[in-house]
Symmetry: C2
């Protein structure tokens, strides 16, 4: 029998932690009292096992649970179900890590491009990479295309839709993709260096597939998807069906308090094929601790079976005046994503401001 | 312009709550400083608005935010994105309610059967309904089918897969569905009253669709789906494509601490087509407060546009000795779901124990 190890932080009094850990192991496998199981092979091969309990801080314990891989059968939705299905409904339980044995890990191809593929696409073998977001939603297609062109002229590598931009009447998906692709092409013809527009794919699986086809037909190479919004299993299907796209993964609906951000964005998104997970940076609008951001970036890049490394993309209230600090913190295998802070400059002032961003990144390392 | 109202509980000091509420409104609409918006129509028509702030308890405020329906365009994934996308990443923010204006609500057909359809299917116009779960996973198909037959012979209305049962080698989906459908048919022929087997549909959208077709071809009428596991948008597609199924919605991966259970299970699941949301009962393995369970059941049944009422299904550590209490609490428009507690009886003893459950429910009201 093969077992994966899922690790949880559980808030409990010391005298209760053993019982709570055991209850979690049962909840995440057979979901009934062991008295109700009348087949000893199930006790031996299916019931999950508490592997270790360690004190984590004053209120919480770190609990490692072994879950039989046979219960998962290599399937994405069932993986989530078995590691954080019912126990997500308990308060004071957070999923913080996941170790998959090689045979199960091999069922997940992970990023199809990852750091090496993105660097090859952008012809940027070593330097840090840049991204900017077109904001705000509500702008008409022509305005978005203008922003897209300006950012690419400034030398930004990836110009992405803001994640609120979907398929609204004020900027319908097919028209937007066509216009922004044309704008990017114009800029690339002018600068002579690669740059990519990343449209936001969002919707039910049927809409996702329709929009992915439109994007592919328009020559799009990089897309933005929020895996928790579309659903992790739907994200997996999308990557499998459209492996040529580079996937920027957005953290929206990540409810990060219940799954540790380094695990959800750094490992699980990567496992399912995210080439470049976007996450909220320390000191920005979301105030993640710096150590958590470092752990997330490390998890995205760390050796993990045969999975390609994914490119960390810190974002969320990034400012031009922090570029040096952030590159010193994250190092060159990083894409810096700045959105609204660039857009404080309007009209003619936007190009030099975006260019300043790009130049800072280029010369820093 | 039409606006929906999303309501949040936000933990903040009194002197900070106005700024935090305003920051949330911006985060959930334009995601940039208002200074970066140079088009007054966007300020007027797209930026979300704080409608009210009320103290909720010592640490939290109840904040109502109006979000422009134009940003959602009637699409399921984008609805989630706009009401709880980025702000789910903030600690101390919980989404607790959602009010949709009529034109937006009309884009969501909700339950295709709901309480009246389930009652018609079971030929049970007034009494409370019963459900039992086949457990544990790991049992071979023949054993599951035997459990299914026994529960149906005892008079249980809906016999469902445990939600850990997926498509594992020990009980592959097609064989399991065929065997359990045959077992139910045998029992129905013997008792002369309707009963239904509800297989668990789980997987990526492609697997979901394949399994739904298999189930339909085998004559299945009721299915179990965990909308948060498969992803809310994928659940929506499934209901649209297979409207003839009655959907029992399982709460797995519901991470209930961040979206209030009455909203997620009582309203959002219903909005997307769940006929009968399963939720964790008070006093069981999950210890939801009783008031929250009552609010959830009320939300599932309450008048809401043209949506059919959904059938509340309390579950999670239910016991035979609590049937009277629970029916008094929930009333007759309820399906009681008992899993492991019935299975404490083995072999020949299972039928009378399951029959006792059914009889208690039949005679109580």
């Amino acid at each position: 029998m093969a077992w994966l190890t899922a690790t949880y932080l559980i808030g409990a009094a010391p005298e209760q932690i053993e019982a709570r850990a055991q209850a979690l192991a049962i909840e995440q496998s057979v979901e009934c009292q062991l008295d109700a199981i009348h087949d000893p092979r199930i006790i031996e091969n299916v019931v999950a096992r508490v592997a270790s309990i360690e004190r984590f801080d004053d209120a919480r314990f770190r609990v490692a649970v072994q879950i039989a891989t046979a219960t998962i059968a290599g399937e994405t939705a069932q993986l989530i179900n078995m590691v954080f299905g019912n126990c997500s409904l308990w308060e004071n339980v957070q999923l913080i890590d996941l170790d998959l044995p090689p045979a199960l890990l091999a069922r997940f191809p992970g990023p199809r491009h990852g750091i090496p593929g993105i660097r090859a696409l952008l012809d940027a073998p070593r330097r840090p990479l840049t991204s900017a977001a077109m904001k705000p939603q509500g702008l008409p297609v022509a305005e978005l295309a203008r922003l897209c062109r300006t950012f690419a002229l400034a030398g930004v590598d990836v110009v992405k839709d803001d994640h609120g931009i979907a398929d609204q009447v004020y900027s319908p998906f097919p028209q937007r993709v066509r216009a922004c692709q044309a704008a990017i092409a114009e800029a690339v013809a002018s600068t002579g260096r690669p740059a990519f527009y990343a449209p936001h794919l969002i919707g039910t699986p049927r809409i996702l597939r329709d929009h992915a086809r439109v994007a592919r037909d328009e020559g799009v190479r990089v897309v933005l998807v929020a895996p928790m919004i579309v659903g992790l299993p739907a994200f997996r299907d999308l990557v499998d069906e459209f492996p040529d796209f580079v996937y920027l993964a957005h953290p929206s609906f990540g409810g990060a308090a219940r799954i540790a951000p380094p695990l959800l964005f750094g490992k699980i998104f990567r496992l399912l094929g995210a080439d470049a997970p976007i996450f909220v940076n320390y000191g920005g609008r979301f105030a993640y601790p710096a150590a958590e951001c470092a752990a997330l970036a490390a998890a995205a890049r760390a050796p993990w079976g045969d999975l390609r490394p994914a490119l960390p993309v810190p974002a969320g209230g990034m400012r031009l005046d922090r570029v040096d600090e952030l590159l010193a913190f994250y190092g060159p295998d990083t894409m810096l994503l700045i959105g609204g802070n660039l857009l404080l400059a309007e009209g003619e002032a936007l190009l030099p401001r975006a260019h300043e961003f790009v130049t800072k990144v280029m010369v820093t390392i």
